[in-house]
């Protein structure tokens, strides 16, 4: 019996060890096959999950161009930060498409992406979107904008800004809209405190937040316009509001240093009018000026899918990601952890 017990105890120790190490080691997926077929080139795309369908549509169109002929894709999609860490740790990639600039910067630091990746006309950005407020069908709470979110009875769901980098767009939008409307930093902080008092859940990622919202937790979801449009395209039934003052979301893409030259061709295609149209169809705002915006299914008004907010600010207006991360999200001195401490303890 003591042998059985020892064996079970060893299994217990093993289970803990595996559980903990699994948490630490980033998910590395996507078996990389060497390109060897005659006339075909294999390109490895590593990206965040949201633009998968848009990328796939763009790849189809790219294959019809002379540069894109014979390109075969090996793709890996997941959470932006996890994917970036996976590439930094050796996952094969030619073309990366992330949610945040910092996830590309990590690869620059690792020596995998050239420091000049932001020198292009769009500064390395391939898609835009804006932070929006999602409400249940019919908008029972009568939410019109940011001010309504801090009223009693509003239950906000927004992804966790600590564990999901992309969730930071939402918090920054809530903060900066106060300043864009002429408020002071103190007023913006006070607004964000009231905002967090109404937060009922901080799910791990944008998609988890959408799922929790659809299951009925909360009555307001802070999300991204493209995410809202894509969900409505796939049949989800909810309304969304583009606030008068909101933050422009900018998603970067880059080609790795030792990538196949075809990867650069793909990046150029994505930035061309033909490429941008594919992303627009899935709900992203175009980065290339002059991209014709046709009808976008799933948008509030499919004929005029992208209303221009009266106040549209960018991360650049807030001083860039490095400054923003230090000011807002630093573990000890950041505005957001401090607000969470104040509101978390009062609950």
């Amino acid at each position: 019996m003591s042998i059985t017990r020892r064996r079970v105890l060893q299994a217990a120790a093993g289970a803990i060890a595996l559980g903990l190490t699994a948490t630490l080691s980033g998910c590395v997926g996507g078996a990389a096959q060497p390109a060897s077929g005659s006339g075909t080139t294999t390109l490895h795309l590593v990206g965040f999950a949201v633009p998968k369908e848009a990328n796939n549509a763009a790849q189809k169109k790219f294959a019809e161009t002379p540069e894109g002929k014979g390109v075969v894709w090996e793709e890996s999609y997941g959470a932006s930060g996890d994917q970036s860490r996976a590439v930094a740790n050796g996952l094969k990639a030619d073309y990366v498409n992330f949610s945040l600039e910092g996830d590309v910067s990590r690869l620059v630091k690792a020596g995998l992406v050239d420091a000049s990746w932001q020198d292009g006309p769009t500064k390395g950005i391939v898609t835009d979107s804006v932070v929006v407020i999602v409400v249940p069908k019919g908008n029972p709470e009568g939410i019109k904008g940011w001010d309504d979110l801090v009223k009693p009875g509003v239950k906000i769901i927004t992804p966790n800004p600590a564990s999901s980098g992309s969730a930071r767009w939402n918090i920054l939008a809530a903060y900066q809209q106060v300043i864009a409307n002429g408020g002071t930093e103190a007023e913006a902080k006070a607004y964000l405190t009231k905002f967090f008092n109404n937060v009922v859940a901080l799910p791990g990622s944008g998609r988890d937040a959408t799922n929790a919202f659809l299951q009925g937790s909360g009555n307001v979801l802070i999300s991204y316009e493209n995410e809202a449009i894509l969900a409505r395209q796939s049949g989800e039934d909810f309304d969304y509001i583009v606030p008068d003052a909101t933050l422009k979301i900018e998603n970067p893409a880059a080609v790795l240093k030792d990538a196949n030259p075809k990867a650069t061709d793909y990046l150029n295609f994505v930035l061309s009018t033909a490429g941008q149209e594919e992303f627009v169809a899935k709900g992203f705002r175009p980065v290339a000026a002059g991209t014709p915006v046709g009808t976008v299914e799933g948008a509030n008004d499919p004929a005029k899918p992208f209303p221009v907010p009266s106040e549209l600010f960018t991360i650049g207006d807030l001083g860039g990601w490095d400054a923003v991360n230090a000011k807002f999200f630093d573990e000890t001195s950041g505005i957001v952890p401090q607000i969470q401490k104040a509101t978390g303890k009062s609950q």
Binding site: M1, T4, A13, A15, A162, S163, Q215, S217, G344
Partner: protein
């Protein structure tokens, strides 16, 4: 059990026959290995090292690369401390419930015959087999805002407790069941015929025999609890200071490129788990000796 406990204490001359030949046989086996047994031990150690020891050492090395500062920062971060407190206290609570309920379920499954028993046998393992994110979805629809039970425990500490309870249910049941199967009901009948009350029979006959299995299951259940993440993703809301668990803190540190702090929190969980396993082992020995 008694023989093996006494054997190392009392050195018997070889001429005196040991009261329990099995005890002596076991002692011989552990000191001199046959070539085959040696190979087996070698493979075991290699396998164990590759899968468990080396990754564990890697965590400790990663955590110590930041010096004591990283541990100190992790421990003094009130948010991390709150997450650790919640995780450990809920896991302990769940383990206590599992010790009672798991043993009871194992008892019913082994000793009682009833309609649907086979079905229950299979269903018990579902929390093992189900991907935890699916478990989270199931729990959310059961205890969330659209609950058929009329409760809304989503995004509260109750949700953390229920999620832990769900994923750790099979451990005690599955460790106690085989031991209970081996126990002859005749022994209990004999105890009863000698005048022992049901309580005395349970205390002196059943509990000492079951204790090692119960504590093994409890250790597994605790370990599984403190490392749980998937089922909480949709259910707990990850609210700092309220429903955020340690694994979410680790994930947050990883997302912030703070691997040292992440490893520090992980190694703290590791120490907690080891302490709990050792304490459970000591309790189990005490109870088992209480014949």
């Amino acid at each position: 059990m008694t023989a093996s406990a006494v054997a190392p204490l009392v050195e018997r001359p070889d001429a005196t026959p040991s009261p329990n030949p099995r005890g002596r046989w076991r002692r011989r086996r552990t000191t001199s290995l046959t070539p085959v047994a040696g190979l087996g031990l070698g493979i075991t150690m290699l396998w164990f090292s590759l899968l468990v020891l080396i990754p564990l050492i890697a965590i400790v090395v990663q955590a110590s690369s930041g010096g004591w500062q990283a541990y100190w920062d992790a421990l003094t971060s009130p948010q991390t401390a709150a997450a650790l407190r919640l995780t450990v206290s809920q896991a302990l609570l769940v383990t206590l419930v599992n010790i009672v309920m798991g043993t009871a379920i194992a008892w019913v499954l082994v000793r009682d015959r009833f309609w649907g028993k086979q079905f229950l046998e299979v269903v018990i393992d579902i929390p093992f087999a189900l991907p935890t994110i699916v478990a989270g979805l199931v729990l959310l629809s059961l205890y969330g805002p659209s609950s058929p039970l009329g409760v809304d425990w989503a995004n509260t500490r109750v949700a953390v407790f229920l999620a832990f309870l769900f994923v750790t249910l099979p451990f005690v049941v599955r460790t106690v069941q085989p031991v209970l199967l081996e126990l002859e009901p005749e022994v209990e009948e004999a105890a009863a015929s000698l005048g022992a009350s049901r309580y005395i029979t349970f205390r002196s006959i059943l509990l000492p025999a079951l204790a090692p299995a119960i504590t093994s299951g409890a250790a597994l259940s605790f370990a599984r609890g403190i490392s749980e993440y998937g089922s909480l993703v949709l259910l707990s809301g990850n609210l700092p200071y309220s429903t955020e668990v340690a694994s979410v803190r680790i994930l947050s540190y990883v997302e912030g490129d703070k691997l040292t702090e992440a490893a520090a929190v992980a190694s703290i969980l590791l120490v907690v788990a080891l302490v709990v396993i050792v304490v459970l082992d000591i309790i189990s020995r005490r109870v088992a000796r209480h014949v």
